[in-house]
């Protein structure tokens, strides 16, 4: 009797658990099975892939640099502030994490578009942001920055605040403390934040296609190309997908091995 009960609860839990695992793993297996491994090098060298690869690499790199330069100070303010407003800022930051990317794209259009909140002041100078490479970077930064800031803020919160008190009595200004002590000590957090943000930027699709369009060599990043190639030559789409999958796994491996617990 007891054995039967245990067996029944095992099934009740085990079947949905197995289903969940299958839902996640089978698509990846399917992708790998359908790949024509011998064709991959040639596929990745086609005239449409190379510009998209180059564009993806440059825009995600610029995004990573923007995260580093702008996100690090923001993370520092969030980490050291005890003000109530801080928790609101932090909540705001998480919105892009859960927002449908296409909504982000629309929001960016409302900001930088010809008649947008900021865009209307740029139009007279002949500056147009939407449907340019700059727009790709803005879209990627919009979705990736929160990952970076939250990762780095977490790392900075882990620092003993008394280290800063000691550094200040030794004569260090905020900037010097951050440069010589704070940032070196949170380098692992910065590295994992960069990797997360970069991976998120690399996969960006919805906000980019809405805000930047799909122009080869200018705004067509790898995910956008996959979408196009799926209609034109599915095998090329699969090859690119395999490459993106490999990159994701690589990033994850690096994070796990060195910076994640």
């Amino acid at each position: 009797m007891r054995y039967a009960v245990r067996w029944r609860s095992r099934v009740a839990l085990g079947v949905p658990a197995a289903l969940a695992l299958l839902l996640l793993v089978v698509p990846l297996v399917a992708l790998l099975l359908r790949a024509d491994w011998a064709r991959i090098p040639a596929d990745l060298a086609t005239p449409t892939v190379l510009p998209a690869l180059r564009l993806s690499l440059t825009t995600t790199s610029v995004t990573a640099v923007l995260c580093l330069l702008l996100g690090t100070p923001l993370a520092w303010f969030l980490a050291r502030s005890e003000h109530r407003a801080t928790s609101w800022v932090r909540a705001l930051l998480t919105v892009p994490l859960v927002l449908p990317p296409v909504v982000g794209g629309v929001a960016l259009l409302m900001t930088w578009g010809r008649n947008g909140l900021i865009g209307q002041y740029l139009t007279p100078f002949g500056i147009q942001i939407p449907f340019t490479t700059v727009a790709v970077v803005l879209a990627e930064t919009f979705v990736a920055m929160p990952y970076y800031v939250l990762a780095v803020e977490g790392a900075m919160r882990g620092l003993d605040p008394r280290l800063e008190s000691v550094a200040r009595t030794l004569g260090a200004s905020d900037l010097r403390y951050l440069r010589t002590v704070g940032i070196p000590l949170v380098l692992p957090g910065i590295a994992s934040g960069l990797a997360l943000a970069w991976a998120r930027a690399l996969g960006e699709f919805g906000a980019t296609i809405t805000f930047a369009g799909n122009f080869q060599g200018r705004t067509q990043t790898l995910p956008l190309l996959v979408y196009v190639e799926l209609e034109r030559d599915p095998q090329v789409a699969i090859s690119i997908s395999i490459m993106l999958l490999a990159v994701s796994v690589l990033v994850l491996g690096v994070l796990r091995g060195r910076w994640l617990r």
């Binding site: 008394r162 008190s165 000691v166 200040r168 009595t169 004569g171 200004s173």
Partner: protein, 357 residues
């Protein structure tokens, strides 16, 4: 207290602020070269005082003047990095990614000294604490005692006019603590600024400090040289720290001392009025039967606790006059002392000291 002319070159501070539950109002003065030991129970405002002196916490009211310079007058406040201050805390809090040498050079570098000069200075400071052979070590490669010495060298490398040591030895094991204490004492004698040493260890305070300040519940309860404090404690906490039985009492000219709890103690050194009365634990003898002869004080008391301390035992007694007695281990066994038992405690009237409250 010290002559005002020299205090002007030293430390003159009144710290008033509230932090959490506690309202701190502490006055500290010292001449250059002096070590002020700040003692008190945990949560009494010691660390708050230190952080306010460092400028990490703002004063609500009061002033901080060091070496003739105004650091805080209640309105304008110098930031910590603008003060000639050195801070050392219980955990050495070395920068873990920097070598010992660069930890010590951090201060001079932050204050605009060139790299070479700063490292030379750091080397000198490490030499002074006996660590000239460990300059290249990272903090985690150093023992806890060595880390504490590096932290001291780092705090002194900027030539602070005020050195703040907050429980500098608390994190060390007993052996290391004894050695580091003497290293610290040696280094402090060569330091000509004011040192504020926060500790809850009476031994630290008695061996390192010229003056003691007791801070309880945010207030100074006693101030004086170690000798003064040892002989005339003025609060229950201070009494415990210096190891004396202390009673707040009323005395008369006949040598009768009435404690606040209704007990009677007889002394040969009468003081009239509100008095403190002290009884050294070593002056208490314990007996199974009512003792005959000279002792003028005898009480029937109950044993509440027995603790061992080396070759002697401390017996906590409750009753008419609560007492701590220090007796030999032999008498513990000879008398068969046990918790819950009633015994006779005797103290000679000549051993009871009184002084005005």
């Amino acid at each position: 207290m010290s002559a005002p002319s020299r205090v002007g070159d030293g430390l003159d501070a009144r710290i008033r602020l509230s932090r959490g539950e506690i309202e701190v109002d502490v006055t500290l003065t010292a001449e250059p070269g002096q070590v002020i030991g700040v003692l008190g129970p945990n949560g009494g405002g010691k660390t708050t005082t230190v952080l306010a002196l460092a400028g990490v916490l703002p004063l609500a009211e009061g002033h901080v003047r060091v070496g003739g310079q105004v650091w805080d007058d209640g309105r304008r406040r110098l930031a910590p990095e603008q003060r000639a201050v050195g801070l050392m805390l219980a955990d050495s809090l070395l920068f873990p990614h920097l070598r010992a040498l660069d930890n010590v050079a951090f201060g001079p570098r932050s204050r605009g000294v060139g790299r070479h000069e700063a490292r030379d200075r750091a080397r000198t400071e490490l030499e002074r604490v006996g660590l000239s052979d460990r300059t290249a070590a990272r903090p985690r490669e150093l023992s806890s005692g060595q880390q504490a010495r590096v932290a001291l060298a780092r705090a002194l490398a900027t030539d602070p006019a005020l050195l703040l040591l907050d429980e500098p030895l608390a994190a060390l094991d007993p052996d290391t603590r004894a050695r580091t204490r003497s290293d610290l004492a040696a280094r402090l004698t060569a330091y000509d600024g004011v040192t504020v040493l926060v500790t809850h260890d009476p031994l630290d305070a008695l061996t390192l400090a010229d003056h003691l300040v007791f801070v309880e519940d945010g207030r100074v309860t006693q101030f004086g040289t170690p000798a003064e404090v040892l002989s005339e404690p003025r609060s229950a906490y201070v009494g415990t720290v210096v190891g004396l039985n202390l009673y707040a009492a009323q005395g008369d000219s006949h040598g009768h001392v009435h404690t606040a709890d209704g007990g009677l103690i007889v002394t040969t050194s009468p003081t009239e009025g509100a008095v403190w009365a002290t009884v050294p634990p070593s002056a208490v003898s314990l007996h199974r039967h009512h003792p005959e002869g000279s002792p003028r004080n005898t009480w029937r008391l109950r044993i509440a606790s027995v603790t061992m301390q080396g070759q002697s035992a401390r017996i906590g007694l409750v009753g008419e006059v609560p007492l701590t007695a220090e007796v030999t281990l032999e008498s513990v066994t000879a008398l068969g002392l046990q918790v819950g038992q009633d015994v006779w405690a005797a103290v000679k009237a000549t051993e009871v000291r009184t002084y005005p409250r």
